[in-house]
Amino acid sequence: MNGIAGFALAIFIYPGLLAALVVGWLLFWVRDLAHGALGAKDVPGPLHTVAQLRATYQSETSILEGMRPAVLTVSGVVAVVFPLLALIFLPVPANPLVSLLGFAGDLVVEAALLLGLPLARLAVGWATPMDAARRAADRAARLLAGASLPLALALIAAAQLSGVLSLRSVPSSVSVVTVVAQVLAAAAFACALPVLARRFAVRERGETHPAPEGELAGVTGRDLALFRLGEVLQLVAVCGVFVGALILPLVQSVPDSTHRTLIWIVGVVLTAAGIGAWEGVRGTSEPGNERPPLTWWLGIPVLLALAALVVAAWATRG
């Protein structure tokens, strides 16, 4: 395949923009289904996300006095581009870039790109001259700060097990200890999934004029639509990285590419469902406790990550 054509294909078709949008729409619906099932809420239809996005896009775009348009523009673009980059350079099956550039993904790059959307939202929240948005940004920052340590340690454990930073290599030997370490690392990373894939809540006034809560409370119209689009893409990226970096190594004995593709698909869908289920369960808890305190993250998630590191060190002691 011609290099430029392959590059364009990867960016705009698969696994880039078009494929990401389609998969994102599906995963968002799966997430809503799981959320609704466990949260005892009405299950939205498959086109709910599309309708909401459309309504947001068509609603009035406004800006709070004093706020700079540039921060909305730049943050919105970052919110869309960073998850897409994380997807495009994932070594998903039949990714043209893998054969074209020989790029096999990079754990550190993927993790850093997944932080793009959350940080962009925080930037908007703190740049909004609205106390509620700023306070919400502060709370979201605590969430992100708490998730960053188990996230980093989990991925480092995965890198230690594989011995490389790329996502395509297969460990030379697999033992029970290796599997245990990988499972622990996946569990630690899973704790951070809801934070990375967090979406802003919307106050619905019919299907028109959806208004966000949280750090995006001051954002409306097309600016808001861009962020919602980013969240759709972020969900795909988060699920993809989780499966590619932490689940696939558990089944690395499967050589058949068709089966591996199936594992990708099932893994991504189950991950999205799991995120939705978690949101549904958390949604039934006491209001006021919607955000776990910062210190919660220093308990179980970090413990899982540290355990993964210890077991990984044991597994690779050579």
Partner: protein
């Protein structure tokens, strides 16, 4: 001209010019033109000399000369010309010194004291000579001597204008203690080996693992790494703008350079630090460097969460860079060492961009400094280029992918995977520290985009258009605009109950002041877009002088879009192409935006102090193990906002986690009627 004379001129010309300038300053005969001329001569001679010298650095073995005395004398100005020395010297002469001169001149000009520029320039020239001598030093004790002199000169630059009875003697002691301690540790290696130079030590190092631990502590002290960060923060708060710039732009890279030079001389035949026991996989004394370095990055991120003032944030960022450098050297792996050399460039570019932004924004100055949000003083107009320089510099220093600082970190991480497995978890801690630094910087910077001055409000009284559309007149006639009420934005007169001095709005024609920051930002960005060019243009050449022969080419391969290692690959140019294409599509999809303006619901330009946000971290902020020596070194100096003030930290339990209903109700009250 002999090489000896050539090197003498190259390294000492700035000092001579500085001495002349200093003498004239004492005699009070320093018109600005004379100062500028002498400074230019002193600064340009090394640049010209380096351009002539650079091809000679390509010899397999370094060229060695002594300015006087014997090459084998224990203490003599023995110099070596090699890739690492020339690479570092270029950075000093071409990037750092001009920026220091500009910062000194600009800050004095703002204070109306440009006539007293001569002492600053004299000291800066002295700093340049000391730094160049360090870059080329081969005699260990001579390097330590020059390092001590450098530290003293940087201190003096930061104390210019301070009355003699109030100079910061404690800071001076802290600044020279690190070089002296490093000298003592290195002497432990010199004596048994009967060597006096790095060249003689190479391959003959008798250091044992315990001594490497001491070396790690000495380098940490010299660079302000944990647990010695307090002195760096102290000097950052007390120094003049030029002194502050020299602290982060000279001292920090010098520490990284000395660490590289030391590793190059003390590594064993396997390229590793002295081993600890006979465990498998091999564990070396370098683990101490890794631990100290990673903890430094983590603690810097933790402390940065509670701060928003520019000086402290930059000091913590600088400490974090030292931490990463120590991690890289500690692993003893070729890829990581290459990353440390790249780090020299990205540190200077990133810190230079942020410093220049602070100075251009008038946030850092000789007089009393205004309250500020990032590089934007409260009440000052927003300067887009300055903000861009600040943001790009920050992105380069915290390792954001696509920006300059990511490549060295990725190289270091890849190197750690090759080496001692015990070092790997600490890489995770360092990355987490960078994530916390990112949070702190975003929170400290974002509010700068949330208010307009009265002048800006008057100029832009119509509904806002897309920020990319410069032509306000090209409004979409089909879309009715909601004009803002003719409300003048209230001048920011009070923040947190304290009166805010209103700085004079800078004239619009001072865009030239933003140029230095922009230059460094472009350099930082270029290092992120095409690191393969940076690697090919001197970095790998410099790394070869630190590593075993032939190691560089074994480890790394340059590619059109990036580079590849055995265990990793990074193709930033491809990422940038993709990002640009996707960004364009995103903007097209959003379409042309005509925004109506809603009244702001708060006129407070700043969110609450960050220490309030991180209440749960109060035990960490109050811990003497996290803030080592803070009471002794920062008591009465550091801003109260950064401290966990007992009264301000009183928690209202109900306020800690406001219920959803309360949040929604508040938001509804604040949102105007559609």
């Amino acid at each position: 001209m002999s090489l000896t004379l050539f090197l003498a001129v190259l390294t000492l010309a700035p000092a001579i010019a500085g001495l002349v300038l200093g003498a004239l300053a004492i005699a009070r005969k320093t018109p600005v033109a004379v100062t500028a001329a002498l400074t230019a001569v002193g600064a340009l001679v090394p640049v010209a000399g380096l351009l002539i010298l650079a091809p000679d650095a390509a010899f397999p073995a370094p060229l060695r000369v002594t300015l006087f005395g014997s090459v084998t004398a224990p203490f003599a100005p023995v110099l070596r010309v090699d890739g690492l020395g020339v690479f570092t010297a270029f950075g000093v002469a071409v990037l750092i010194i001009p920026l220091l001169v500009w910062i000194a001149a600009d800050s004095l000009r703002r204070a109306g004291a440009l006539a007293s520029l001569a002492p600053s320039c004299a000291l800066i020239l002295g700093i340049e000579s000391a730094a160049l001598l360090i870059s080329f030093a081969d005699n260990v004790l001579w390097l330590v001597f020059c390092w001590v002199v450098l530290a003293a000169l940087v201190w003096a630059l930061g104390e210019l204008g301070t009355p003699a009875d109030t100079v910061d003697r404690v800071g001076l002691g802290a600044m020279v203690a690190g070089p002296l301690a490093t000298g003592v540790v290195l002497a432990m290696a010199l004596l048994p080996a009967r060597a006096s130079t790095f060249y003689d030590l190479a391959g003959n190092s008798p250091l044992v693992a315990v001594q490497v631990v001491l070396l790690a502590l000495a380098l940490a002290l010299a660079g302000g790494a944990y647990p010695f960060t307090a002195w760096l923060r102290r000097r950052a708060l007390l120094a003049t703008p030029a002194g502050f710039a020299a602290l982060v732009l000279v001292i920090v890279p010098v520490v990284l350079f000395v660490a590289l030079r030391t590793y190059g001389a003390l590594q064993g035949s396997d390229g590793l630090w002295p081993h600890i026991g006979a465990v498998k996989p091999a564990l070396t004394g370098g683990i101490a460097l890794v631990v100290i370095g990673a903890v430094t990055v983590g603690v810097s991120g933790l402390l940065a969460l509670g701060r928003r003032d520019g000086r402290t944030l930059l000091a913590l960022l600088a400490a974090a860079q030292v931490g990463w450098g120590l991690v890289a050297i500690g692993t003893g792996q070729p890829a990581a060492v290459i990353g440390a050399v790249v780090l020299l460039v990205t540190v200077v570019a990133g810190l230079g961009a942020m410093l220049a932004a602070l100075v251009a924004g008038g946030v850092v100055g000789v007089d009393e400094e205004p309250l500020a949000v990032g590089p934007r003083a409260l009440g000052a107009p927003l300067r887009p280029l300055t903000m861009a320089a600040w943001c790009i510099g920050a992105a380069a220093l915290i390792g954001v992918p696509l920006f300059g600082g990511f490549a060295p970190r990725q190289l270091m991480t890849a190197g750690a995977l090759d080496g001692a497995r015990l070092a790997i978890p600490f890489l995770g801690l360092a990355w987490a520290g960078d994530a916390l630094l990112a949070l702190a910087l975003v929170r400290a910077t974002a509010p700068a985009f949330s208010w307009r001055t009265a002048e800006e409000a008057d100029e832009e009284a119509v509904a806002l258009t897309d920020a990319d559309d410069e032509d306000d007149a090209a409004l979409d006639d089909d879309e009715p605009l909601v004009e803002a009420d003719a409300v003048e934005a209230e001048a920011v007169s009070e923040v947190d109950g304290a009166a805010v001095d209103q700085p004079a709005a800078a004239p619009r024609g001072e865009d030239a002041r933003e140029l230095p920051g922009l230059i460094f930002a472009v350099l930082a960005l270029a290092a992120g877009i095409v690191p393969q060019a940076l690697l090919g243009f001197g970095t790998l050449f410099a790394a070869e002088d630190v590593l075993q022969p032939g190691k560089v080419s074994q480890v790394i391969t340059l590619q059109p879009f990036g580079y590849a290692l055995d265990v990793a690959q990074w193709l930033p140019s491809a990422f940038w192409i993709a990002a640009s294409a996707l960004g364009a599509v995103a903007l097209l999809a959003r379409g042309r935006v005509v925004r109506s303006v809603r009244p702001a619901v708060t006129m407070e330009p700043l969110p609450e102090p960050p220490v309030q946000t991180w209440k749960e971290l109060r035990p960490a902020y109050e811990s003497p193990f996290v803030q080592v020596g803070v009471d002794a070194l920062l008591g009465g100096i550091d801003d109260a906002e950064g401290d966990t003030d007992a009264e301000s930290a009183e928690d209202d339990p109900e306020d800690e986690y406001p219920e959803d209903a309360e949040l929604v109700a508040t938001a509804r009250q604040e949102e105007p009627e559609a």
